[in-house]
């Protein structure tokens, strides 16, 4: 299912942040990065090396200072904000480290709401996704009634809700013990394969990334990172 055309291609991507004392810090400088459709890439990098910033730029919830992000033959940096919102709803699944879920919504509602932003909610498919992550009997639970591990699995089901082309996972296993983290990685990979989605999986813990054929060291990928 993987072909050779890149689904996502990043070039000369830069982002600076103003520190609290007014200094302008270059946080991210990625000369080039590519991922093919269906490809799974693990990214390992120290805390503070800019991994989250990178994913945020890819997801279009943060603006780049310069450079290009070509996604599915569209230039993300040239799209208007609302065009990016639509693109994100339809094509990008995002899982973050903690507090992923909307607290007032049940597991099922978290998934169907995501579907609403891309068009029509498909309850049957939402059921199926939750079953696939092993939560067939927890559909009507609110996040507070679920374990951290279960919450992450709801977030995974939600990320896949609109059959995205790519899933961005920002340390989704950070709060899990080793065994569960490994299981989570397997599940995420498996479901991305079933859905034909590319996967960028970020973790500071190299062990978790054992199952990835391609693992990039973010401290090398990101030229702005020193020490």
């Amino acid at each position: 299912m993987a072909n050779n055309l890149p689904l996502l291609k990043v070039e000369k991507l830069k982002r600076t942040f103003i520190s609290p004392d007014g200094e302008s810090n270059l946080i991210l400088d990625i000369p080039t990065f590519k991922i093919r459709a269906g490809e799974h890439i693990g990214i390992q990098g120290n805390s503070g090396s800019g991994k989250t910033t990178f994913l945020n730029l890819l997801a279009g919830i943060l603006n780049a200072d310069s450079g290009s992000i070509a996604f599915d033959s569209r230039e993300l940096t040239l799209l208007s904000e609302s065009e990016r919102d639509v693109l994100r709803a339809k094509s990008i699944g995002y899982i973050f480290q903690t507090f992923n879920l909307l607290q007032g919504y049940t597991a099922l509602e978290n998934v169907t709401l995501a579907m609403m932003f891309a068009g029509k909610p498909d309850k049957k498919y939402a059921f199926k996704l939750l079953e696939n992550v092993g939560l067939g009997n927890r559909m009507d639970y609110k996040p507070a009634q679920l374990s951290v591990d279960q919450q992450q699995r709801v977030a995974l089901a939600r990320a896949l809700a609109n059959r995205p082309k790519i899933v961005l996972a920002d340390e989704p296993t950070g709060n899990l013990d080793y065994r569960r983290a490994r299981q989570a990685v397997k599940l995420i990979k498996e479901l991305c394969i079933v859905n034909g989605a590319s996967l960028i999986f970020v973790s500071h813990d190299l062990d978790v990334l054992d199952d990835f054929d391609t693992v990039l060291d973010f401290t090398i990928l990101n030229r702005a990172f020193t020490s």
Binding site: L62, D85, R88, A89, F96, L113, F117
Partner: protein, 421 residues
């Protein structure tokens, strides 16, 4: 749109307590405002337009308002009496179509006895086209016998019915020691008229001249009542009446009569037109309405403020939720609208409940006014305030929502998602 309502519903349910409290404050505010305006206008209409049936009242020199309250509403005390000759004079006046004498001064358990003539029951229309009607086989009293016709409310409250007998008590307020001796016999009970007449016992005016303890001053000297057995034996010169109720030939007649009667030096007063006299009463209590109006506006403003505060207070804790929505693909506009619509929903539901409160309030007001005066409010009539207030409240709700909505609109997605946040 569907997703916005879904988000709104979830948010309202997530903050149930503050939602409920805010909705109640909106409901109370709308109900209060609608009630203040509606009850005021309903009351004014009911008092000034409805129950008179007469065009003018002739009575002793004094306040026209007191005269009207005393005769039309059977409230307050009588300003005094006028000689029988005034009654016969006005009855024969070319401007007058119908003149009916009233005499007051006795009560039965607090319900007034009004002495009058049988004409009241066949010629007088208490509202357009309607004369008094009797329940079952009731009939008018014989003007020369000690008989009585009972208003429906009095009958209901006292249990008097056809064939009952009762003693009258002296004065307009009940005191059990002031009992008059000779009993009245009830000849009939009137059907409800929804007017102050329901609270009255009608007796032949002659019987007032034959009740012991009553003194007749019509002739200038005091003349002890109760010396005759047949009222026809009482010389007219001694008789007096509390008021003469008038139906005039045309509006111009009222003007002519008023200008000749209400002049300096005359012993009597013509209250005319009755509606205008009562409108004066509402003008006098206008400051009360002004204060209530002001309070109503403040309450509305406070309700709008409470919508703003209740939503604004949740903004910080919801920052992350907005960010998640954005990551899922919600547009800024969607987040903005969901907050505004949340505010509108609160004011909308509040307004609906406000209508319930309003009907409770106006029914209560109507009940009290009816109990006190016999005047009935038309509580189902649609006052413009019933349309304007909800409209304004919902608009204010939307405006109150804009400030927090703007904050939600501005949510920084990336930084709000950071685990430290």
């Amino acid at each position: 749109m569907k997703k916005i309502f879904f988000i709104v519903e979830k948010s309202l349910l997530q903050h149930k307590l503050s939602t409920v409290i805010t909705i109640l404050s909106v409901a109370l505010a709308t109900a209060l405002v609608m009630s203040v305006f509606s009850i005021r206008d309903q009351a004014e209409t009911a008092f000034t337009g409805g129950p008179a049936g007469f065009d003018a009242v002739l009575g002793a020199r004094g306040s026209q308002l007191q005269l009207v309250l005393n005769t039309v509403f059977h409230l307050e005390t009588s300003p005094g009496n006028i000689p029988w000759s005034e009654y016969t004079a006005i009855k024969n006046n070319e401007n007058v179509e119908l003149a009916i004498p009233y005499a007051v001064g006795d009560n039965y358990k607090g319900y007034r006895l009004v002495g009058t003539t049988p004409e009241l029951f066949d010629k007088f229309e208490y509202t357009k086209g309607k004369t008094f009607e009797f329940q079952k086989s009731g009939k008018v009293f014989n003007p020369y016998l000690r008989e009585a016709v009972v208003g429906s409310y009095v009958a209901q409250k006292t249990g008097l019915k056809k064939g009952s007998t009762f003693n009258a008590y002296h004065g307009l307020y009940f005191n059990k020691n002031d009992r008059h001796r000779k009993k009245y016999e009830v000849t009939g009970v009137l059907k409800p008229t929804n007017s102050p007449s329901d609270r009255v016992i009608w007796v032949p005016i002659n019987q007032f001249y034959m009740t012991e303890g009553h003194v007749l001053r019509g002739g200038g000297k005091e003349y002890e009542a109760y010396v005759h057995h047949d009222p026809r034996d009482i010389p007219d010169v001694h008789k007096e009446v509390s008021a003469v109720m008038l139906k005039l030939k045309n509006p111009a007649s009222g003007f002519k009569l008023a200008s000749s009667i209400n002049r300096e030096g005359k012993a009597s007063t013509l209250a005319w037109p009755i509606g205008a006299v009562l409108a004066g009463l509402f003008e006098k209590i206008g400051w009360v309405t002004k204060i209530l109006t002001l309070v109503a506006y403040i309450v509305i403003a406070v309700a709008a403020g409470s919508i703003l505060a209740s939503i604004y207070n949740t903004m910080n804790e919801r920052r992350r939720e907005f960010a998640i929505l954005r990551v899922l693909g919600a547009k800024r506009g969607t987040v903005f609208s969901s907050v505004v619509i949340e505010a509108v929903t609160i004011s909308f539901i509040g307004t609906i409940i406000g209508f319930v409160f309003y009907f409770i309030l106006i029914s209560l007001a109507s009940f009290i006014i009816r109990k006190q005066t016999g005047v009935v409010l038309d509580i189902l009539s649609i006052h413009p305030v019933l349309i304007i207030t909800p409209f304004v409240m919902i608009l204010l709700g939307a405006v109150a929502g804009i400030i927090p909505a703007y904050k939600a609109y501005k949510t920084e997605v990336a930084s709000s998602l950071s685990p430290n946040n």
